[in-house]
Structure formats: structure tokens, C-alpha cells
Symmetry: C2
Subunit: 215 residues, 2 copies
């Protein structure tokens, strides 16, 4: 008899992958269960409904991102540096596991599903628990201190979008540009993103270039 916790974890993992790839509406319960050789009813035994399953998947993702954020806040000194570390870590996370960032994009975009997951008695973390400290961290930087939460939220959206779109769109881009071009982009992605984040947060180009255009 396979212990419930193991099956649950396996289901969460496979559900995460499939939801990232096909979205909430495009992923059926039987599709997820079949990945582990189970029936859809076995899945419903562990997660009472589809919205609750989605809620559990999002809670796991949120927890993961929150850990990355806290780790970055421990590591960096200034808020700027902490944010740079955070976005670099998220970008790196997308390198080994692009599904997670695709899932993040889905969760931010598919309002109906995310809403249903939360309203249906969701437990555990939510994406909001990640976004709020992230916005607060942006408001703590020199460039944005004193600005409203809306401004900081706008910055957060831009940086998240810059970080997550490529992994989410990689499949389509590959179909259009070919594997070689996309692979090159993937390799340089983290580096390019770090430069972007640094520039946005500090208003000056990355250190490596000796040129100092900023006044």
C-alpha cells in the first residue's frame, strides 16, 4: 500500500507540470491521474475537487517562491541587492525547472481558476503572500522609496513579466525561431535579466562595464 503522503506529493508534482503546460481548463483530472497510472477517482480521493487541487498546487508554488524571496532577503544587504538576488534566483529556478515559471504566469493570468482555487477554502500560502513582501521590498529601495504601493506593484509586474515570459513562451518561440536561437536565448537569459533588474533598480548599468554614464 503506497502511503498517502507519497501519492499526494506525486500528484501535486505531475499536476503542477500539466497545469503549467495546458492551463487550468486544459488539464483534466484523468489526465493528471493517468500520469501516475491512477484513475481520476483516486485523485479525487486525495483532493476533494479540481479547484482544491489547483489551490494545493498554487500553495506549493507560493511557498517555494516565498522561500526564494526570504533567502534573497537574508543574503542581500540593501533592498536593491536583495531584489537582484531574488530575481536572479527566480530566473535560475526557471532554468532547471521552467514549468514553475510557466505555472506562475498561468496563475497570474488565469483569473477565473486562481480565484476559484482560493475561494474554495484554499489552505496554505497564496501568491499574494509572495507579492506583498516583494512590493514592500521595492518600496524600500532608494529609487522607489516614498512612492505608493501602486508604483511598486507596477515595477514588480514589469520585473516579473521580464523574468517569466520567456520560459512560458519558449515552446512557441522554438516553433518560430528554431531550437538553436531559443537555446542561445535561454543560456543568456539569466545574465540579461540580471542586467535589466540592476538597471531598473539602480538607474545605472551593471558594474562590469567601466563606463559611468550616470550623473
Amino acid at each position: 500500500m503506497i502511503p498517502a503522503s507519497e501519492t499526494r506529493q506525486n500528484l501535486l508534482r505531475e499536476a503542477g507540470k500539466l497545469l503549467a503546460e495546458h492551463g487550468y481548463q486544459g488539464t483534466s483530472l484523468s489526465m493528471i491521474a493517468a500520469r501516475l497510472g491512477l484513475t481520476k477517482q483516486a485523485l479525487l480521493h486525495h483532493f476533494k475537487s479540481k479547484p482544491l487541487l489547483y489551490g494545493a498546487v498554487l500553495a506549493e508554488l507560493s511557498e517555494e517562491l516565498l522561500n526564494v524571496l526570504f533567502a534573497a532577503m537574508d543574503q542581500g544587504e540593501t533592498p536593491e541587492h536583495q531584489l537582484e538576488v531574488f530575481f536572479s534566483a527566480v530566473a535560475a529556478l526557471g532554468q532547471e525547472n521552467p514549468d514553475r515559471l510557466r505555472l506562475l504566469m498561468r496563475a497570474l493570468t488565469e483569473a477565473d481558476a486562481t480565484e476559484a482555487a482560493r475561494s474554495n477554502g484554499g489552505e496554505g500560502r497564496s501568491l499574494q503572500d509572495v507579492l506583498e513582501p516583494l512590493v514592500a521590498l521595492i518600496q524600500a529601495t532608494e529609487a522607489w522609496e516614498g512612492s505608493g504601493a501602486g508604483t511598486a506593484l507596477g515595477i514588480a509586474s514589469q520585473l516579473l513579466g521580464a523574468t517569466c515570459l520567456f520560459p512560458a513562451a519558449a515552446k512557441i518561440l522554438t516553433a518560430g525561431f528554431g531550437t538553436e536561437v531559443v537555446d542561445q536565448a535561454e543560456q543568456e537569459r539569466c545574465d540579461l535579466l540580471h542586467k535589466l533588474v540592476h538597471q531598473v533598480l539602480t538607474g545605472m548599468p551593471p558594474q562590469e562595464l567601466g563606463a559611468s554614464p550616470a550623473g
Copy 2:
């Protein structure tokens, strides 16, 4: 008797809105047709299948974006300036009509649907027709000239992500942060984005700080 062209245009418009909001899998043919008081079979009379309808919607979107890109290329002088104008125009487009940017995000993210739309004998423009000149334009800038298409594609993805995520996520952000905060973010979005694009392309802060641009 309502002329076919008019009904077709109405269907495309409503389909675009619903597809932007609920995604390909989350939007049923009857849902679209019902918006105009028609039956799903009337829709299938104008568009032979769901993938073909989606293809037509994406073709219209691609045409729209391509017009924005060409207009920007006519207006700006340097490639950097042309890109700035383009992204500002796209951001502004999202202000009056956020559905279009949500749809763009969907199209870039939902690989299955976009693929099906193209393979199913799609006519007209595709997103690839927009991305290719966009990538070429980035390769024509001083900062990225000589770099490979992959690098330019990475930059394009980042800038597009920064431009489009907020409109696509606005609904969920409103649920989490409230209308006031999101409204403020929406108002400052275009301005913030312009600064980001300028910094990424030229490596220096926006002109308003008195810094002198490239020599």
C-alpha cells in the same frame, strides 16, 4: 439579413475578448456565439472550426501589432528610438484595450492552441511576423548589434513580458491589492515602462535627469 462580413467582424471581436479573458480551452464556441445572440452553429458557419476561429483572431491581433511596429519604425529615427516608440505604443494600446495584451500573452503562452491555430491552415499574419522584425530591430541597436538572434530574442521577450504582464494580471492583482492600488499602477504603467525600455536599450537613465545620451 445581416451581411456576413459584419457578423464575422462581430464574432472576431467578441471571440477576442472572451479568448483573452478565459483562454482557448476556457472559451467555448457557444459562449462566443451567445454574446451576439447566435447559436454555436452560426459561428461554425463563418469559421469552420475552433482552431480556425482562433487563427483568425490571432491574425487580426498580429496585423494590429505589425501596424503599430511599422508606425513606430516610420516615426523613430534610430532603432533605439523606434523600439521605444513601439513599446510605448503597445503599452498605450493596453491602456484603452487591455484585452489585446492579455490575448497576446495567451497566444505566447498557450502553445497547444496557438500551434493548432497555425497548423490548421491558418491564413493571414501570425505572431511570428511581428516577432521577426522586432528581433531584427533589436539587433540593429548599438547595444545589441552583432549579437545573435537568440540574444535579441531574449531582450524582446523581456521587454514584451514587462509590457504585457500587468494588463494580463490586473484582475488577480485587483483581488489582492484592491482597486486603488491597481489603478495607480495602471496610470503609471506607460511611464514606468518607457523608462525601463529606455534604460535597457541605451544603458542610461531617461533624459529628464539631464544625462546626455549616446555620443
